[in-house]
């Protein structure tokens, strides 16, 4: 190495520069590595946190799904129970109803039969009493005839020396009593025939009463249908009346709203005129509005706009139905006012004019 090279490499400036360059290089290297490590750690920490969050979310989802499934099963079980109970109740109700109907039928039939038998019995009783009285009468008549013949016989016995013709007369009289007895027996037979005929007649009556019952049933059905028709008309009248009453109430509300709006508009107009006068402005109530128009496109003054706005506000406050509002406020685009929904907010929003 020549003296120039020695001079250079032993130069303290050169040594310093080289030394510091080496140190800088080394420290830069270390710093870069540290920076890279820090960034990697930061990125890893994000990914770890993300994985944790994903796990927690998955856990929450699973738990909520489980809970939902459990509740759903429980609810389905309840619904099935309720439905089974309802079906059972319906069946029981139906069977009870059928039993009851059958019992009522049997009862009705038994009652009918009892009535018929009672009629029969009454008819028979009258018939037999009539025949018994008739027979008794006949019997008393026969007794009378017998006593008469007995007296005549005694009379004839007293006059024993009567001729054979008297005996023959007595025999004729005996024949007559025989004839009476025969007549009585034939009457008895007639009475028995009459009783038989009465029985046959009663059977015919029973048949006739059954036909009457059927006819009565048909009449009852017809009357019931008439009753239902009458009930329908009655219900229609009642609904009509309620509709009329609602209409009347709505009209009364509309009248109230018009009154209140009149008072309000007077106050508002007076105050506005005063305020304008105090500020030195001309009154603007008769100026035409550019933003609103009456129905049919006719122009509207501010006075009219004020009146309509107040009236609509009062009517909406009293819940007057839309058709009444439309009738009294002929304003273009009134549907925007009528469709307005009330919303609750932090700031109070006035009914915006203009």
């Amino acid at each position: 190495m020549g003296p120039e090279e020695l001079a250079i490499i032993t130069n303290p400036g050169f040594i310093n520069a080289t030394f510091s360059a080496g140190e800088n290089w080394f420290h830069n290297l270390v710093a870069r590595a540290e920076e890279a490590e820090r960034l990697a750690r930061r990125k890893n920490s994000f990914e770890a946190a993300n994985a944790e969050l994903a796990l927690v979310n998955r856990e929450l989802l699973n738990k909520s799904q489980e809970q939902n499934a459990r509740w759903k099963r429980y609810a389905d079980g309840l619904v099935a129970n309720i439905q089974a109970l309802q079906a059972k109740m319906a069946n029981d109700a139906q069977s009870l109803k059928d039993e009851r109907r059958a019992d009522m039928d049997v009862l009705g039939r038994v009652v009918d039969e009892r009535d018929a038998l009672q009629e029969q019995f009454g008819a028979l009783k009258t018939e037999t009493s009539a025949t018994i009285s008739q027979l008794q009468g006949d019997l008393s008549g026969a007794r009378g005839a017998l006593t008469a013949t007995q007296s005549s016989l005694d009379h004839e016995r007293r006059s024993l020396s009567a001729t054979q013709t008297d005996l023959g007369n007595v025999r004729v009289a005996l024949h007559a009593t025989e004839g009476d007895r025969q007549r009585l027996q034939s009457n008895l037979h007639l009475a028995e025939d009459a009783l038989e005929k009465a029985g046959v007649y009663i059977k015919a009556l029973k048949a006739a009463s059954r036909d009457n019952a059927l006819a009565a049933e048909a009449d009852r059905q017809r009357l019931q249908s008439q009753v239902e028709v009458a009930e329908g008309t009655l219900r229609g009248t009642v609904t009509h009346i309620t509709a009329l009453e609602a209409e009347r109430r709505d009209n009364a509300l509309a009248a109230q709203a018009i009154e209140a709006a009149g008072m309000t508009v007077m106050y508002v107009t007076a105050q506005a005129m005063e305020a304008w006068a105090a500020q030195g402005k001309a009154p603007m109530l008769d100026n035409l509005m550019t933003s609103h128009a009456k129905a049919g496109g006719k122009p509207m003054t501010m006075r009219e706009y004020l009146w309509f706005a107040t009236l609509i506000k009062e009517m909406k406050a009293r819940d007057v139905p839309d058709h009444l509002i439309r009738a009294r406020c002929p304003v273009d685009g009134i549907d925007d006012f009528l469709a307005r929904k009330a919303d609750v907010s932090d700031q109070k929003v006035a009914l915006t004019l203009l």
């Binding site: 106050y267 508002v268 105050q271 305020a275 509005m289």
Partner: protein, 214 residues
């Protein structure tokens, strides 16, 4: 019962309009209401309470965890029957109106969960100021002698009045008064925008129109 006293010796504007002003303090904020009649003013206050009730219920339904943050309407207010009656358009006997209103709100003052801390029955206050904007402003000061208030159409006029009032009451200069206002420890002090009833809002909006903007 509190009264709003108007001390208006300094400013000589002839006020043409008078309104009824009442206020309700909820969660240390003052909400003041103005209307054309006392009944209407009470109705506005009652409607505000019903609004709080509705917002309270909507929040309970949608965000039950917001209970921890407790905005002013999340204060457990429930609109009682009397409040609902005052908030409706029903006619109430004027002799019983005051007592009914005070009784209805006393219930809330006693309840520790409800944030309503004070109220004022509506009284007549003249409106100062000639130039109408879209709203009215009220300056309210509470001190040992009571509550004083001033209603005007501009916020600046109300602030100016407040400074002059303090200056007159405490016999200070204006800068001293301003400093005192910043460190006011005697009670409530604020300039609030008034919530107007619908008719009053219509009047104020109409009054602020100019012929070109019709």
């Amino acid at each position: 019962m509190t009264e709003i006293i108007n001390l208006n010796r300094a400013i000589q504007h002839r006020s043409r309009m008078s309104v009824f002003v009442g206020y309700l303090t909820v969660d240390w904020r003052c909400y003041a209401f103005a209307a054309e009649t006392k009944r209407e003013c009470m109705r506005q206050i009652a409607l505000f309470i019903c609004e709080m009730d509705e917002m309270h219920r909507a929040d309970m339904r949608d965000y039950p965890e917001v209970a921890a943050l407790r905005p002013y309407w999340y204060s457990g207010v429930v609109a009682s029957n009397d409040i609902c009656r005052i908030a409706s358009l029903a006619e109430i006997n004027p002799d019983h109106l005051d007592a009914m209103f005070v009784d209805a709100i006393d219930v809330y003052l006693v309840d520790p969960d409800v944030r309503i801390t004070s109220h004022a029955i509506p009284v007549v206050v003249p409106v100062h100021g000639v130039d109408f904007g879209n709203a009215l402003y009220a300056a309210l000061i509470e001190s040992e002698s009571g509550i004083a208030g001033y209603v005007s159409t501009t916020k600046e006029a109300a602030s100016v009045w407040m400074v002059e009032y303090v200056r007159d009451q405490m016999n200070m200069t204006v800068p001293q008064a301003e400093r005192q206002l910043r460190n006011w420890s005697h009670g409530f002090l604020d300039v609030v925008p008034l919530r107007l009833s619908p008719n009053l809002q219509t009047v104020v909006t109409l009054a602020s129109l100019t012929p070109t903007s019709v």
